[in-house]
Every structure is written in structure tokens, then in C-alpha cells.
Amino acid sequence: MKNLRLKAARAGMDLSQDELAKMCNVSRQTISAIEKGDYNPTINLCIAICKALGKTLDELFWEE
């Protein structure tokens, strides 16, 4: 399932996938895969992404 909230949060902060990837110390392809729903990140990566975007885990990763 696509993670549109992540994509929206990233766009809201005017960050590219590459920039967010660098902030989280992962590759751009990983961020892209997470947004497309092709990869489920570990909790550590989820936390890193939330910290980078200033959001909570619920806001970005909890299933609606």
C-alpha cells in the first residue's frame, strides 16, 4: 500500500527523496520504495524518517 502521507509530509517540507534519504542515512531508492509501498521499513528507519519530517509514527505509518 502506498504511503501517501509520507510523500505529502516530505513534499510539505519541500524535500526531495534524495534529501530525505540523506537525512535518514538510506538510499533514495529505499525512500521511493517506502512511498510506493514496495518496502516496509524497520522501526529504526521509521523513527528516523519521523524525526527528519517532524511527524509522529502514527501520522506517517499507522494504517488508517
Binding site: 534524495d18 542515512n25 531508492q29 521511493s32 520504495a33 518496502y39 521499513p41
Partner: protein
Amino acid sequence: MAEISIAIFISLFIIGVVVFAAIRKRKNDNYDEMQELARLRGYKYGFITMAAFLGFWMMMDTVQVIDGLPFKLYNNTIIIVIFMTSIMVTIAYDVLHDAYFYVGMKPDYWKKYCLMILAVGAVNLISAILAMRNGEMVNSDGYLILGGSISNFIVAVEFLVPTTIILIKKVFIKDEEEE
């Protein structure tokens, strides 16, 4: 004597792999979690390939199909071909999932990598073809020899397959880029 040399060679090879892996692990954590997962799957599929081919070879040997070939094969030739095939499967999977060195990570790295690998592969392929044309594939006993043209051919395939996959991925499979 040959067995001793092979045992020494294999031992040194294994030691080299372990040392190399230990050094790389310390110095290079550049694969992220998704890439590590992709690489693990690559190793899995490579292992499955090796097991499948070994099983197939044993079956072929049992029903003596191999005896019907126009040339004979040393066992080590078969083993090495199987081993290299499994490595190729691993590399192909890693390349397809952007988990092969820096090929998918740095923007133009793939061009330099492809150029270099293409050159090595092409040289080996040309060498293999020339050797085949000179009749250097089979020795006087009718065995397909691993040295010379066959080893060049194996090396050429090992280098050209990843290059081809990288080129197909870059040219035909468009990665979803930023808007």
C-alpha cells in the same frame, strides 16, 4: 600433488574471502537496510541456483547423459561453471535491486562501471572466440579444458551479464524520479 595444490588454493581463497568480508564490514556500511535485504535474497537465490544445478548434474551423471556429449568434461570444470553461474545469479539480483556497489546509488557511477566492465568482458569474449576458432577448446584426450577459451568465456559472461542488466535497467526501466 594436484589435490594438495587445490586444497591449498581453496583454503587460501576461503581465508581471503573471510578477511575481505571482515575488512569491508568495518569500513563500509554503505548498504542500507533495504539493500542488505536485497543482497541477502541475492545470496539465497544464488545458493538455490547452485543446489539446483548440482542436483541436475548428479542426475545427468546418474543416467549417463553426460557421456553422450560430443566432448568430455572434467568434474572441476562442471563445478566451476555451476559456481560461477550461482555468483552471476546473485550479482544479477543485486543489480536489479540497486544493491550492487554504488551502481544504483551514485548518479553517474553506473556509466563508468559499465564502461570498465564492458571493456573487460569484451576483451575476454574476443579472446575466447579467437581461441575457439583456433581449436583450443578441447585437449588431446577429448576433454573440454577449463583453461584458455572456456575460462575467458566464463569471465566474459560474468562481466557482460551485470553490464547488460544495468543498461537495460537504466534505459528501459524508468525509475520513478522526483516530480
